[in-house]
Symmetry: C2
Subunit: 399 residues, 2 copies
């Protein structure tokens, strides 16, 4: 062996895709001390069914440890429980059409592996849940943004875009949409738009990825059929999660759709199926039948918080800030008047310990400085009232 | 909208990499009724610390539910516990050099994302743990196999290969090795080979991926320093897991090494960090200080089972079947005489309800029909004795 080592560096060993990656920037709070954060869609910790989950854990560890703690697939009962919930929504679900992942985010993050070559077109909403869309961007997708209004995605604009792309010989890979209690706008797509969206997917041969994290949390209005329910031809991949109705910290989400897609998602999920232990615990909890009652409690709580937030906004914000009233979910979207920038507002608000998500963090195309997203899910009621009062005075101070 | 839909197919939307994937073939047991399976390295379910995990779960859900059940990073205490364990082995560990994943398999599966472009050389052992190596193959790596003998990887053969490759201008991305209680041979690399391996990595500028799932389970002989302990220049990525010392079903493994590698592994772990709930439970369990005692119990049990297996082999197998005696771990590797094929043996054994891993399932280069791997970890002692007696008579019957 030679005694002098050439100046080898580990970084030279990296694949091209790993060389110039920047670590993801999570919502770095501008202020060191955030008193009231409306920034994140965190669940209200008061509502976690921790006693029932503790009971389920105890039973699993006492009775099912040999299976729940060894190598193996997730609990068969968990698949059954999720299939039952999907079928209750009118979604064609069975074992071959279902994959369970570590949160819906994991499954959404696997979509580029299955569908995206660099340069392929992926259609998203603007605004949208950028945490997921960033994954598509990193995979080299060419992102096209379709505007969202108070009725969700503008499907007429989508039709024009699909038609334009078709003329150029381009077939988009998929359309990523959050049709119910949209993140960040809270908007819910009415039936006529849903029907047209599903018809467009079939007409242009484009997959719809329906992200449905919030639909169980409806405060008002009538239940809308999911896109997956309306779809007769298999063009919808339905994605959902236990994060908002049980707890995010258990990390369990799923996708339901065409079996060939599910099979491929499973192949790119390199660590295999989700952990036996946590899947058995959650299956046990679901099997108690308590989840539907629990969801009713969540609805009552989030409805109350949403109303409180909207009332506080009506009282405290300048009248030319327009808040969209959601029918469910975690978020209120506020359109700012032309003279106020979301980024400037965040900067000023952070001086007073208030945080929120500026609209710029919700668009893949750089828009969004004219709006902000307020999450009412996490903060206790008292803080919501205080926080909005402070934010109102910051808003007025900017004038 | 036109009334006729062109014959679009979902499969047309797949990226090239997803088009012709075959689902992984797990160890399909040949016989419908397997009475005794020596095939898999499953943990012994009798030894799961289920009572202590239940206590930890109860405490977490009673005291830490707001954090353990919400979005967020894994338990900080879990990082600390793992760092302490690594430091006790003489491995330079800190928060920036550590990533926790859903089993070590997940982290090993992410290596190609960071290191492998199609055609890049990856060096593996023959035999090896093919479950991981298959991931490298799927990523398009050019696999080069270095032989393993009863002292682990033949590092002289490795040196020749590295030198040959260097002359061709080829710098391998990494060397995947299991130096302690090797899977499948059970072999443990002695110090002089370890030192040479680490020196070669530095000399040729090649990363070593040290898979160390079993080293805590030593029955006899003195503790060997890990490659990571010997490495002074950062060329070792050390990978380990709680699967063999707590339970596989909790799905927690980790990698420790150069911070730039850890950072990139984290970026390609698309679902983010591991779940808060399970990480808090395991951290609580570790914090009780019971894990080291538990490991002593595991060692006593697996030592007993290993001895039982070896004694049964000595009694029941033809004398020209050579069993390697491991100093720890889960496996005994048996070299078959030239007239007996592992595949033929498996076929015949399965007729009698016996299963094991044929050596062909342990090589990336098609070798291995001259050996079998017997896992003694999972079966109860009675079954081990019965199973080997049956396998012995099958072996004799093939003559």
């Amino acid at each position: 062996m030679v005694s002098t080592t050439p100046a080898y560096r580990i970084t030279d060993l990296f694949a091209e895709r790993a060389k110039n990656l920047a670590p993801p920037t999570y919502g770095t709070e501008l202020s060191k001390i955030v008193t009231v954060s409306f920034a994140y869609g965190l669940a209200d910790p008061i509502l976690f069914p921790h006693t029932d989950l503790a009971a389920a854990s105890a039973v699993v560890l006492a009775e099912e440890a040999p299976i729940a703690l060894n190598y193996g697939p997730p609990s068969a009962q968990l698949y059954e429980q999720i299939i039952l919930r999907l079928q209750a929504k009118g979604i064609a679900a069975d074992r071959d059409r279902l994959i369970i992942g570590y949160g819906s985010g994991q499954i959404l993050g696997l979509l580029p592996d299955v569908f995206v070559e660099p340069g392929d077109v992926v259609i998203v909403e603007g605004p949208t849940f950028l945490g997921v869309v960033t994954r598509f961007v990193h995979a080299g997708a060419r992102i096209i943004t379709i505007p969202v209004d108070e009725l969700g995605m503008d499907v007429d604009a989508l039709e024009v875009t699909l038609n334009d792309l078709k003329k150029q010989g381009i077939r988009p890979r998929f359309i990523y949409t959050i049709p119910t209690f949209h993140n960040p706008t809270g908007a819910t797509m009415p039936l006529f738009r849903r029907q047209k969206l599903v018809a467009l997917a079939a007409e242009y041969g484009v997959l719809i990825v329906e992200d449905d994290a919030y639909s169980d949390l409806r405060f008002r209005g009538e239940t809308m059929p999911s896109l997956a329910t309306l779809d007769q031809e298999g063009w919808v991949l339905y994605v959902s999660t236990f994060s908002k109705i049980i707890a995010p910290g258990i990390r369990l989400g799923w996708a339901c759709g065409d079996a060939t897609i599910i099979e491929r998602l499973a192949m790119f999920k390199s660590e295999g199926t989700v952990g036996p232990f946590v899947s058995h615990v959650v299956a046990r909890y679901c099997a108690t039948g308590k989840l539907d009652n629990h969801i009713q409690e969540l609805i009552a709580c989030y409805k109350h918080k949403c109303n409180l937030l909207l009332e506080a906004i009506a009282q405290e914000f300048p009248s030319d800030v327009v808040a969209l009233r959601p029918d469910g979910g975690f978020f209120v979207w506020c359109k700012l008047p032309p003279d106020i920038s979301a980024k400037a507002l965040l900067m000023a608000a952070s001086e007073h310990g208030i945080s929120f998500l500026p609209g710029t963090r919700c668009y893949a195309n750089g828009q969004g400085d004219d709006a902000i997203r307020l999450a009412f899910s996490f903060q206790p009621t008292q803080k919501i009232v205080e926080g909005i009062a402070t934010l109102g005075s910051v808003l007025r101070g900017l004038r």
